[in-house]
Amino acid sequence: MFVPLLVVRNALRHKLRTTLTVVGIVVAITAFGLLRTIVDAWYAGANASSSARLVTRSSVSLVFSLPLTYAQKIRQIDGVQAVSWMNWFGGVYITERNFFPQFAVDPATFLDLYPEFVLAPDERKAFLTDRQGAVVGRKLADQYGWKVGDTIPLRGTIYPGTWTFNLSGIYDGIDKSTDQSQMFFHWDLLNERVKKIYPRRADQTGIFVVRLKDPQRAAEVSSAIDATFKNSLAETLSETEKAFQLSFVAMTETILLAIQAVSFVVIVIIMAVMANTMAMTARERGAEYATLKALGFSNAFVAGLIFAESMAIAIAGGVIGIALTFPLAAAFADAMGSLFPIFFVSEETVLMQVAAAVIVGLVAAWLPAWRTSRLRIIDGLRAIG
């Protein structure tokens, strides 16, 4: 009972200094957690993808489209259960700042292939029957205050002109990893308009989404699809939905790496601050530690005292920091709107925060503990603050 009390008393001797150090650790651990969560959010699309779906796109790049007739051919390939197709629309809602993804989809097959988008039965029916209908995610609807029945105007960037949609329904995600900030509307509507203005671009789609009968056969089926269209005017590239999503992440990997690097820098900064606190503390108490040693306490005991004090401060900061991460992440997600559609603190992040706090505590204590244990009693007793 005596030792823990001594550690706590020691830690509280300089209340201001200890408080400041704890605040520093809280800031660092919270910032670390937030940065890790931002990195996680980047990968959210890939993590939410289904292993039973393939994405087929033009082998040249995503800006090239594929003829719709491919849908029939893909459906006949062994191992394919269902096929749907979609186009990136790239419309602007009022101003460029209001960015959210919009896709032209084939509603019936789309809703069948993506069970994670949950629609009420009457809204589903309304969407399927209204050619100008559109559905949006709950988060997006909340952000712009849309209600079912509203008219949403979009200015096309890839498909020129103003497009208006009737909001037929608002979908919910099946769990928190479902992206609820997208908009889907009828591919037929897009195609009709394209037929009028760019006849050559009609009956073309950006990607095909394929549902497999057996997820184990993903590699086999994707090469079968690509082989079918080999040496045609529009060769395809099929990959699992996860690989497709990861290819987007890879494009901005440099920024991601920078954020990851920076998240470790904050830990190093706080390590310097904490190490400084412990160094000062140990220096001031040189005489005390020497006295303990003179009384017969071992070097290891004195070093242990310093480690325990350092750990106590680091863990206190760590716990508060982790607790603060959750409300801050929620506030950040609100402020960011649809830029990070999926934003939550993962268990892994919390574990990494705990690890960071422990490491900071250990590293900060190491040098002063080593110095103190090496200290000759006579020098310690002679030393003054």
Partner: protein, 388 residues
Amino acid sequence: MTIPFSYVVRNLATRKLTTALTAGGMALVVYVFATVLMLAAGLKQTLVSTGQDDNIVVIRRASQSEVQSGVDRTQAAIVESRPEIATGDDGQKLVSKEPDVLISLPKRDSGKPSNVIIRGVTPVGITLRPQVRIVEGRMFRPGMSEIIAGRAIASGFQGAGVGETIRFASRDWIVVGVFDAGRTGFDSEVWGDAEQMLQAFRRLAFSSVIFRLADPSRYDAVKADLESDPRLTLEAKRETQFYAEQSEALAKFISYLGTTISVIFSIGAIIGAMITMYASVASRTAEIGTLRALGFSRGAILAAFLIEALLLGFVGGVVGLLAASAMQAVSISTVNFQTFAELAFSFTLTPAIVVNSLLFALLMGFVGGFLPAARAARMKIVDALRAA
């Protein structure tokens, strides 16, 4: 009467570990702050210097990049017939009709694919960009399946070096040269013959029309004419402005994220400075009492401790900036959100960044040092002397 500067410096020098740790923490914050600003500045500089002020880019209205745009031959011919277009030495009109597409190429180091702009150009198109010169190999020959790659693409992507081939649009294209565009956006593009590109990609429309104005002051009139012409669905922009706009979103993102991170980090460093300065004041209580007894004013004590904190910040700032300036040798390549295409740019240190970083460091020192310095200045002489 002020306390000598050497007294302040010696105070820092006596406690080396503490001074180093505190200044080190600040240096890291300044390093992050400066590198992020350098990154945003590098991105802007790359794209701003891509354009020429008297060149005009014409794209389809409301399309945000050349890749999204489409200008059919009829409309392109109408633009081409404008009398304001300058003529070159050989009497040819300085106008270039260019198709641009994105293709996905694997990177050399990771093998992961990214989007690269392929631009179809004409001899005139090359004259319109005087900054571009061939540094290895030769220019592509018109009518051949030959391409030249920008410096950043040649070094960063598989198959883009001289003598290698890239396969797209059902053809194998031989890379016959590498060009340097003076650290502009063109360094991240692949160029080939415009007519060959149109055929290979089976396109009827160009992506953009670029021309030089004979009289740059006529820009507003030409822009108004083109945009009000009922036969055209186009918009015209100065090339400089066109490329500058493409840097906006990414540069903003980088500097917002970076500034937010730096401000949060600086809290940690300020706390570090505060702890150090409080300890510095506490361990010198008797000294402060003596100084006051000798006749130094409260103001002089406050100033001495503030200068000590500012000096800590300054040392941190200089070390952080030195480390950051080493980053100028590094070039990074990532996808620009706005064009969806790869863009290489480097960290660029501008005088404004140097000033801002040092001010930031001094501010951290000031905020961290103010409260401890005030405590030192408020001490009563008798109490302080008795504390020893």
